[in-house]
Amino acid sequence: MIEVYVAKNIVTMNPSLPEATAIAIRDGEILEVGSLESLSPWLIRDEYQIIERFQDCVIVPGFIDPHLHPAMAAVILPMHFITAMPWTLPWCEVPASLTPHAFDQEMQRICAAVNDEILIFWGHHDLWHGAMHRDRLDAIDADRPIVAWNRSFHELHMNSACMAQLGMTEASISGRTQIDFEKGRFFENGLAFAIQKLNPYILSDTRFTLGLERLKQVVHAGGHTTIGDMAVGLFDFERELATAVAIFERDDTPFRIEQVPHGAVITHNRSFEQTQALLSDLSANSTHRLNFRARIKLFSDGAFFSELAQLLSPGYLDGHTGEWLTAPEVLHEHILNFWQAGYQIHVHVTGDMGVEVALDGLAKAQAEYPRLMHGFTLEHMGYATPEQIERAKALGASVSANIYYLHELSGRYAELSVGYERAATMGRLKTCFDAGITTALHSDFTMAPAQPLLNMWVAVNRLNAQGDQMAPAECLNPNQALAAVTINAAKILGIESFTGSLRAGKRGDLTVLSDNPLTVDPLRIRDIRVVATVFEGRVAPIENA
């Protein structure tokens, strides 16, 4: 049976035939993209059914987010969101809470509605919600343990009942840095102490499973048909693997997960031969939706949100320096090992010095053992110079960028971190496209919302949270932005042979939208609704769409 979807418009991302109005799918495979008329040679030879439910919609290739972290999402998604920005979560609408009073009211409402062992609220932000304090949480409920986690994730407050339940006393806390007992405040390194105490709770099987179930909904609601887990083993390799199979390898999961192992974890205590044997084994035992392939994730410099990106001169405004996650020479050795074994290598790079070290490694590898179409990818790439982008092109590298940095951080970083020029040019994506580099967008969820249309909107408009347009010369056009969440993202994961665009022979992975992102007012791209997805020919409608 052939299923033929008709739509107002089908954007194929296949440059030879960029637009269509009908698409025929049989057994999960695209037979042809064209019009009802052009499809007739297929339709006269087999039974078919015309599906009209999306005839007023626009169909694009199924969205691909090549870099997010399900395990991290599983920790945060079971928390109760109380945020300054409204969030549309598949299981609830989170209203905007813009005042301290509104925040407290939300806490009270949730407190009355649920009976969690420890109530964890996420999203507190001083600017909107006022200073948090232990007493303030005690006033919400003095008997139930409550945690108010900051939007930044780098700080939390607890009420007295929570501190008591976790066995924290003034004596056990005294002398520790970045903890304020009086206020119940734990931040940065102090947060690590609080997390040690909360770990058994936030990583419990029940919550972790709930978190992954919710992630499944988030991924679907974003319109994805493929995501990349870009560091399997972030918390616990075996556990992540086992839970992923249990929760995602089911008929009701309308997407696949491309799994890329955390290089430092997978090579730990193993010779390279042993690592390779393990990875071959994992690839061979991949299931239908969960796939390991010859891919590896490596790390160069520190976290972007923590201002630990390694910067070339002139560095940070305050003179602090970033951090290496891997010693440069060790990174180079890892790169060379995996390079010679034919792997697609993904390197986490946030600052331009991090980029430089990764490109040095790639240059050495190319000199020693030249490869074409190798898919070496710079992941995140917050800061990079135009010259580095040219070098990346010459060496054959690709870019998978977190463009949300620009929206969330560029205003603040201009004032407080790196100055205007470098803040404005973070996510230098037009330069990448002009150089001919395969360039994709990702959310790094939970670092940014897992909403490809939102990321496209940022890449096209380059508006930061304060509403200022940053370096308009780096704006992508809508077609480039759509490529960055479809065909280019597929190339980043090395799966472009079967998904990422709509053409005969690829899998029937589609995203159905309420409007056309290529023709709508660019400022409205993020308002386009995701109506449904089709994963390998099976429709998965999105509720409330």
Binding site: N189, Q196, S306, A327, V330
Partner: protein, 292 residues
């Protein structure tokens, strides 16, 4: 579904067992030093290795495998959501190790380790010791990628020890810190490292290693000194904590290892060295004339 790593998050005792951080870039000699510390230690101590990014995994090289490895993958606090650190500290607390030595990853900043380890429940940060390869230091300080890190590791340490260079402190090291010393390439370790993990007789910890509570000296005993004389000397001087070295007899060399509780003289150990190392408590001198 595999079970969650068991945690004992509700153990709140803060006993303050000393935690020593050994920092330094790759090849500085951290693992070698820890192996020497293990060889000299009388009380077992735990080692935690944080080298997740490294290729030649130091953990495998740590003698006796007393420790554990954990990953502190980057400086971002939200990445601390991992069962590892809490679980390992909890386990080590159960096993009643007298002390903990933390081998930092080669790229860890010393200052951050100091703040981070100050959160380790049941342990009190005693000292951050940074090792620097005295041969390699000019290259490291000239390296664009590494120079800020190396300088930070030196500046933020309580104590900097030069390794792998015998011809005195490298001038650039001396100019970066006033707290620089030389790690002897063989023989007993500086006393300030050794006592960090020793319990006193009542089972209580000594006062950590921040204060210079111990002195050490190598003496050359007179020929034919009988082991019994040395043993008596140790008994008569209760401040002596440790003696290790060789007695040269008429026909043989005797290897001696002694602590307050324990005296061992082993003949036929071969002429591997000479001299006796003494470590004693307090700041008064010892009179060795009975032995030399």
């Amino acid at each position: 579904m595999p079970p969650l790593k068991t945690l004992n998050a509700f153990n709140t005792s803060l006993e303050g067992r000393p935690l020593t951080v050994i920092a330094g870039y790759l090849g500085a000699g951290k693992t070698t030093l820890i192996n020497r510390m293990l060889a000299e230690a009388e009380q077992p101590f735990a080692v935690i290795v944080n080298d997740l990014g490294a290729l030649a995994v130091d953990e495998a090289l740590i003698a006796g495998q007393q420790g554990a490895t954990l990953s502190l993958t980057n400086g971002c606090a939200c990445c601390q959501i991992s069962a590892d650190l809490a679980a390992q500290l909890a386990r080590l607390r159960q096993e009643k190790f007298s002390a903990l030595v933390f081998e930092a990853s080669g790229v860890a900043k010393a200052s951050r380790l100091a703040t981070l380890t100050s959160q380790a429940e049941g342990y009190a940060l005693a000292k951050v010791v940074t090792l620097v390869d005295g041969q390699d230091v000019p290259r490291l300080l000239a390296d664009t990628y590494l120079s800020p890190l190396i300088k930070e590791q030196i500046a933020a340490a309580d104590w900097v020890l030069q390794t792998k260079r015998s011809e005195g402190l490298h001038p650039s090291l001396a100019s970066l810190s006033t707290k620089v010393g030389q790690l002897p390439s063989s023989g007993p370790l500086p006393a300030a490292l050794a006592p960090a993990y020793r319990l006193d007789q009542s089972g209580r910890l000594e006062a950590g290693i921040k204060a210079p509570l111990f002195q050490h000296r190598v003496i050359f005993p007179k020929p034919d000194l009988a082991p019994g004389v040395l043993q008596t000397f140790i008994t008569d001087h209760p401040e002596i904590e440790r003696v290790k070295g060789w007695l040269v007899g008429p026909t043989d060399v005797v290897f001696v290892q002694a602590t307050r509780a324990h005296f061992q003289a082993q003949a036929g150990a071969g002429a591997q060295g000479q001299g006796l190392q003494f470590i004693w408590r307090g700041d008064s001198e010892l009179d060795f004339s009975a032995l030399t």
